[in-house]
């Protein structure tokens, strides 16, 4: 019995979309056509004759003709068909390539086709190995033997079922006539050569990591949803112009991503020039000294970033200092202090948590506290109740409330305040330095001193 997770899980467990499979299936159906498809011939064995064997050269010729491509490309395409498991070789079954000669191949039955939505189960592989054990009395390849032992260890609770099922499947297969039995064995063997190749093989089924969302879950087939319309909304005093009406999650995400890239592209030292110069190229560390966490005078780009969002401002230590200064002038510094205390609690060591929580309560939350913060009654109730058994996230509700308060209220005022304007006046505009090769540049490239007035002077 496998454990199913009935709750929503956020793990990555879906195989990626393999859209090539549907396309290959179409091609395969075309190959079946009695008139225009690939010509088949019977395969003669010792006692039996099995129909529907096709030669490699026929396949390659058909592909070259159908797609109007060169023979070499048709051969590559044929090899892809074999590697994916839609056609399997009858001789030399372990090498999944197509040989453009008289070697024989056969089509695989639809049950054994690779599908995106049905992953290959270890249970089935265990049953197959057990069946092979029964039939061949224990002659398994080395990697199969290893897999067998591994599966026996990890699927031990199902092992009885596996053995029982293997025996029953073996008996069921014996009910068929000889040629069908042969074909069935070949099919199954080919399936497992594709999906459980020996270790170290480059397989067509390799796909990297599992994905977070199920590619089969929602298929938007309504073409109308993909039309891009200009869409304006009026909000406050600003017009927002959205070029695309986003309807699905992935489209919303890509809109946000595009917006993020547009905003930050000028600030990215990879995408745009790094002023004054990239220290890795010129060995000039001015860039780093100008952008130190607690530098006295921040650079222009840095100050610009503070205006992007409140989160940017708070995450930059120099920005936070500036904001703290502003709040002090407004006599609402306790908000930021409380927020910092909560962060400290969240990220601190477990041993100090209890004292920290008590300290915060005494300073900010208790009635008549020296730096009492203004949060609504409900949040206060929840927080005080939680503080009886303090844990890392006990102050989360209050912290969020204060954060939103600061963001909606103080942040706007900060951007218009004299403190900020002062900082903007003082900010340095770093000058671009000519790129000097570290081997040749003997003299140090000094940086211009801090500029007074906002405009960068040309150097």
């Amino acid at each position: 019995m496998t454990i199913r997770n009935a709750l929503r899980d956020h793990g990555q467990r879906y195989r990626p979309r393999m859209s090539c499979l549907r396309k290959v299936e179409k091609v395969l159906l075309e190959m079946q056509d009695p008139n225009t498809g690939v010509k088949s011939q019977p395969q003669r064995l010792v006692i039996t004759t099995i129909p529907h064997a096709i030669t490699g050269e026929d396949i390659v010729a058909w592909l070259a003709d159908r797609f109007q491509i060169e023979a070499q490309e048709a051969k590559n395409f044929g090899s892809v068909l074999v590697a994916l498991g839609y056609i399997y070789p009858l001789q030399d079954h372990k090498r999944l390539v197509i040989k453009a000669d008289a070697s024989l191949y056969r089509f695989q039955t639809p049950y054994f086709w690779p599908t995106q939505q049905w992953p290959v189960e270890d249970t089935d592989y265990a049953i197959y190995l057990a069946k092979r054990n029964i039939r061949k009395k224990g002659i398994l390849e080395l990697h199969e033997q290893e897999q067998y032992n591994r599966l026996h260890k990890w699927m031990n609770h199902k092992w009885d079922f596996i053995v029982m099922q293997a025996k029953e499947q073996y008996r069921a297969a014996k009910e068929r006539k000889k040629p069908d039995r042969v074909v069935f064995d070949c099919q199954e063997r080919a399936y497992w050569v594709v999906h459980r190749p020996p270790p170290g093989t480059v397989s067509a089924m390799d796909y990297g990591l599992d994905r977070r969302t199920d590619p089969n879950a929602v298929e938007v087939t309504d073409k109308a949803l993909y039309k891009c319309k200009p869409f304006t909304i009026y909000h406050g005093r600003k017009h927002y112009f959205l070029p695309v009406r986003c309807v699905t999650d992935s489209e919303l995400f890509s809109c946000r991503l595009v917006k993020y890239c547009a905003t930050y592209s000028g600030h990215d030292p990879f995408l745009s020039k790094c002023l004054p110069s990239n220290p890795w190229l010129t060995d000039d560390t001015t860039y780093w000294s100008l952008n130190m966490p607690n530098v006295e005078i921040p650079s222009k780009m840095r100050v610009e970033r503070w205006t992007f969002s409140f989160k940017e401002l708070l995450s930059d230590p120099r920005g936070r200092d500036d904001f703290r200064l502003f709040l002090k002038k407004e006599f609402s510094g306790e908000n930021l202090a409380f927020w910092e205390g909560c962060e400290d609690l969240k990220w601190g060591t477990a041993a100090t948590m209890k004292e920290k929580a008590e300290q915060i309560y005494k300073t900010f939350l208790a009635r008549g506290a020296p730096r009492w913060i203004n949060i609504d009654g409900k949040t206060m109730e929840i927080t005080v109740k939680g503080l009886k058994h303090p844990h890392r996230y006990v102050l989360d509700a209050a912290q969020t409330h204060i954060y939103m308060l600061m963001k909606k209220d103080s942040y706007g005022r900060y951007l218009k305040s004299p403190v900020f304007k002062d900082t903007m006046k003082k900010e340095q505009a770093a000058q671009p330095q000519p790129h000097r090769h570290p081997a040749t540049g003997a003299g140090a490239e000094g940086q211009d001193g801090p500029e007074q007035g906002g405009s960068p002077s040309s150097s």
Binding site: M1, T2, A6, V46, H52, I134, R181
Partner: protein, 229 residues
Amino acid sequence: MGKEECKTMLDALNKVTACYRHLVIALGSTSDSQNLREELKKTRKKAQELAVANRTKLTSLLKDKSISKEDRAEYERLWVLFSSSMELLEVDMKRSLEIGQDFPLKVPTRHLIQTGMTGSTNAVAARAMSVQNMKYEADSNVDTADLSELQTEITQVSQMMEEMEMKVQVAPWAVVAKQEAGAELKSNMSVGNSSVGVISIEGGLASIGAVVGFFVIVAVALVLGYLVI
């Protein structure tokens, strides 16, 4: 005794699951036919009856609090057997729905995959239904009504499995298998001429034929030579 009954019923379910899987593998290939679809339907129904019977039996046994520890362990083992069978059945049913939809039979030009299998599967189905011969009804709507029935059955089975998981408190990882690794090697199933073995000697067939022919000729020559002398 409850245990023996359970075991026989589970064996039956196991057999039907194996046969159903064998039949689904033949879907969409040249051995597909109306008969096959009917066989699938009948096998499915039999599997469901057995599943329901097994479930009621096992749940009643597991709910009984007054059983000994060994008994309980045994019933848990049987429960794991049962749920694994059901999982296989569910997957096979879903796949048969998909493949059945992709390869409709009642169309002017059937496009079935030429897999080399041309024989019929009634022996397998007869084994599943535990009858000597299968009887078929002339059913005309094998593509539409049958598939929609299949869909409802699939939802029923999925619901049953969810119920099973929620209501029965069995820890599957705690079950210890009775069979050790390689148990099937000691099984006394007749190997017969292994069919894949036939394939592997096919390549060397020509050489074997030549060797055999050579010995025959040498034997004849010896006999003749002896006679001459």
